[in-house]
């Protein structure tokens, strides 16, 4: 059977039954299958379907339109484009997460260019590109814009390698651009007025996110763009946009649902006597607004302008807003429908109590630190966490940075919020015990894994012994992602986890005393994982070599900070290993040694 979905030659139905019967049952089945499989959207379901038999495999391959590659090095672009021929949407993730925290040297890899080369001939109808932690250059962006005429959505998360020149290419050449979202990317300032490059004919924009672009924007061009984009629903501005400019944009786009407010502060000298616009009215006019962010340089006096929209807000990102408890209260007390809140710890425990009092439907909370320094005291503590746990029972995801935390509070949260799926607690002080009891944080995290039966992601911190890991191995049966830093006593700790957590897919460990024995204890499981990261641990070169020998489909990378230093120390600086169909990658830089 040909690989195409086009069966018109068979479907030119001669009403003649004999021709229809010429279809073998196999062929008929495949037609049916393809038509049915079109409806399968989940990649997990599709993966399962493709394993049934060869014909299902073929049919599934023909009908998969959304491609998800969790690790860009697990499979080659050629292999992918040969199997899946009708792809409309591509999502690729590159570097391991710890690269966000400067733990991976530059130029490690994850280049999008190799994918482009393979895709250009096969995926002419590509509509959506989603990249996370990939390197993409201006040339890549130009290539993308130029060669994929159907491209509508470009979403880049934590990517780097490009600048405003690349954005200019996209703006000018993607005729049908609908979504251009840059999230937490490192965008170099090439002094290019990229906004102006959107042609006058471009009216299809639905989402434009550029809050991470740290360069000035041609406001007039932006305003004109907004005016001619009636479908624009999401607009996230960068900090160069003043509140006055924000006002002008909002007035033009009252249909917005998601708004990133930029600096939320006035521009320089405000002429005396000049009327300040009625910001509250502008917000009131945006009746569909459900998501707010930005506030990069907030002047708290303007917080009152948010009042008209608070009642409808579902997502509020104040994580760049240095506001105190009182200021937060003035806003949060109205946000009864809030489901997701990101804040800075400047709001203090008192602010968190206010959140707990109002946001009963809260599903996600992230509390970021204002001050990265280690400290005995911080503005948010166990008091805030406890308050949240009591008030927001439906919580599913928590990220909490603090200087001190008690086992009692964490345990309380485990009992009060049984729906927790993600629990990430970062006690900034290294090896910090429970300040009240002096004990390690084992019991608290133990309670989390024990009581939160839906937990899939966990990040631990503070003083932790092997006991904590024993708990994790014992109870963390659904755990998929685990982040460990400065924790544990011995190999036993990691061993507990590797033996006990069957669903573990991503394990990232730094600065913990786990060594070869522990590494070996996971041999049975590494093929089931997306990756294992161990940096500044006690794993030797020899052990890594052994693993590589025993598991040929595993790529074992040993990464050093410098090219030269590789062999001097007893332990491997950074071990990054992942399953792959391709073997060692060809684009590894000098400081990476692949076994």
């Amino acid at each position: 059977m040909s690989g195409s979905l086009d069966h018109s030659d068979k479907g030119q139905t001669a009403p003649d039954l004999s021709i229809q019967m010429a279809l073998s049952s196999d062929q008929a089945l495949e037609i049916v299958l393809e038509n049915v499989l079109c409806f399968l959207s989940s990649r997990h379901d599709r993966n399962a379907a493709s394993l049934v038999c060869k014909s299902w495999y073929r049919a599934e391959a023909l009908t998969r339109s959304e491609l998800f590659i969790g690790n860009c090095y697990s499979v080659s672009p050629q292999r992918v484009t040969q199997r899946f021929r009708q792809v409309r949407s591509v999502s690729i993730k590159g570097k391991p997460r710890f690269s966000d925290f400067s733990l991976l040297p530059r130029n490690w890899g994850a280049y999008f260019a190799t994918w482009l080369v393979s895709m250009v001939d096969v995926y002419r109808g590509l509509e959506k590109v989603y990249l996370k932690r990939m390197c993409i250059t201006d040339d890549d962006l130009a290539f993308l814009a130029h060669n994929f005429p159907a491209l509508k959505d470009i979403v880049l998360v934590c990517c780097e390698g490009f600048g405003t020149s690349g954005l200019a290419f996209v703006a000018s050449e993607c005729r049908n651009i609908r979504v251009l979202d840059l999230i937490d990317c490192d965008v170099s300032d090439d002094d290019e007025d990229w906004i102006s490059w959107f042609p006058e004919s471009s009216t299809s924009l639905e989402s434009l996110t550029f809050d991470c672009v740290e360069s000035p924007i041609n406001f007039e061009a932006l305003e004109r763009l907004v005016i001619r984009s009636p479908s624009l629903k999401k607009l996230c501005l960068n900090e160069y946009i003043t509140i006055g400019q924000l006002y002008r944009l909002m007035v033009r786009a009252p249909q917005l649902t998601h708004l990133g407010t930029g600096s939320f502060s006035p521009s320089e000298l405000v002429v005396h006597g000049e009327q300040e616009p009625d910001y509250a009215a502008a917000f009131a006019a945006c009746k569909s607004l459900i998501c707010l962010s930005g506030f990069k340089e907030i002047v708290p006096d303007h917080l009152a302008a948010l009042n008209p929209v608070c009642a409808n807000l579902v997502t509020l990102n104040f994580s760049y807003a240095h506001i105190n408890a009182e200021q937060l209260k003035s806003v949060i007390s109205r946000c009864v429908k809030l489901k997701s809140l990101w804040v800075l710890d400047s709001i203090t425990d008192e602010g968190l109590q206010a959140v707990a009092a109002t946001c009963k439907d809260l599903l996600e909370l992230r509390v970021f630190p204002t001050d990265a320094a280690d400290d005995a005291d911080g503005p948010v503590t166990e008091v805030g966490l406890l308050a949240i746990s009591v008030g927001c029972r439906k919580l599913r995801s928590v990220l909490y940075f603090c200087q001190r935390m008690t086992n009692t509070a964490v345990t309380a949260m485990s009992k009060n919020c049984p729906d927790l799926e993600v629990f990430r607690l970062c006690i900034i002080g290294l090896h910090r015990p429970d300040p009240v009891t002096g004990e390690a944080m084992d019991e608290g995290f133990g309670a989390i894994v024990k009581n939160c039966k839906k937990l899939t992601r966990l990040a631990v911190s503070g003083l932790l012994t092997d006991k904590a890991f024993c708990y994790i191995g014992q109870y963390g049966k659904l755990l998929r992602t685990l982040s460990v830093a400065f924790a544990g006593d011995s190999d036993l700790g990691l061993r507990y986890v590797l033996k006990g957590c069957p669903m573990l897919r991503k394990l990232e460990i730094r600065d913990s005393p786990f060594g070869d024995l522990a590494l070996h204890s996971g041999l049975h499981h590494y093929y089931n994982m997306r990756f294992l990261w161990m940096s500044s641990c006690r794993v030797t070169h020899k052990a890594c070599e052994q693993i590589a020998r025993q598991l040929p489909r595993l790529v074992v990378e040993m990464i050093s900070k410098d090219e030269d230093k590789e062999e001097t120390s007893e332990y491997v600086e950074t071990l990054y290993m992942y399953r792959s169909l391709e073997g060692p990658r060809a684009d590894a830089p000098g400081f990476v040694r692949i076994l």
């Binding site: 733990l103 991470c212 000298l269 320094a373 290294l430």
Partner: protein, 307 residues
Amino acid sequence: MSPPLLGIEGKSQCNVSLMASSTSTDFISHNELGFKERNYMGLADCSSMNSSAFSSIPEENKNKLNLKATELRLGLPGCQSPERDSGFTLLSSGNLDEKQLFPLAPSKEGICSVTQKTVTSGNKRGFSDTVEGINEGNWMLNGPVSDPEQKTNGSIKTETAAKKSQECINKMNGSNANSIPAAKAQVVGWPPIRSYRKNTLASNTKNNDEVDGKPGPGALFVKVSMDGAPYLRKVDLRMYSAYAELSTGLEKMFSCFPLGKCGPQGAPNKERLSENKMSDLLHGTDYVLTYEDKDGDWMLVGDVPWK
């Protein structure tokens, strides 16, 4: 508390100029004195490592007090908004010293050294402590060394003023852990927040010369805040060619605010942000222009040539 303070007050001008032309070696000669001519708290006997480290800092770096590199402070010196790197602070002269000298919560200086694993508590002077400290006379400047904690804090200030690297020495109990060369003692990638977010954090760790006030091609903007004013303003320094002009310009800008108005004492204890802080220590209507240079020192405007 008073004698040292008064002494300083009287000599504020010359102390400031001292700072301006300081050499690093002078700076750290913590010897028997335990009390610095600088407008800082009594210094502890820091480790010799510190001395040597300091003395290795080239003089030029200390002297780069040109405005471009200057970090202007917002609000009270005591209450800082560390993420704003520029801003003037207008203070009444009476309180110049206390406020000006008031070392900021050292943790603001950036990521702490983590070579020690012990839990340290109480060493660090939280913001609330400092504020209360002023009022209660529980002031660190009280003579040279009466207890280890003050030593520690004293040494912090030294470092703050002198060093390029940002370390949180307060937790070190004056131990050797606060060595300058171990600016690398700060743990890489900890806490786990993305660099993009870190850059906007409260930190003076940025050692770049850019004024944070988004300089445009022709403008050099700097944020100015006045005690008692509800919000800050941005000033284009290039519009002025002399301090006198700047001064009148600022006067005009802030003339709309009721002078000497003291709002409620700063926010609750854990408050770190300060732009809009008001101080009830303001007396009178005379304001003094001060700024914080890139090393975190409070300087009187006018000492350094305009250029």
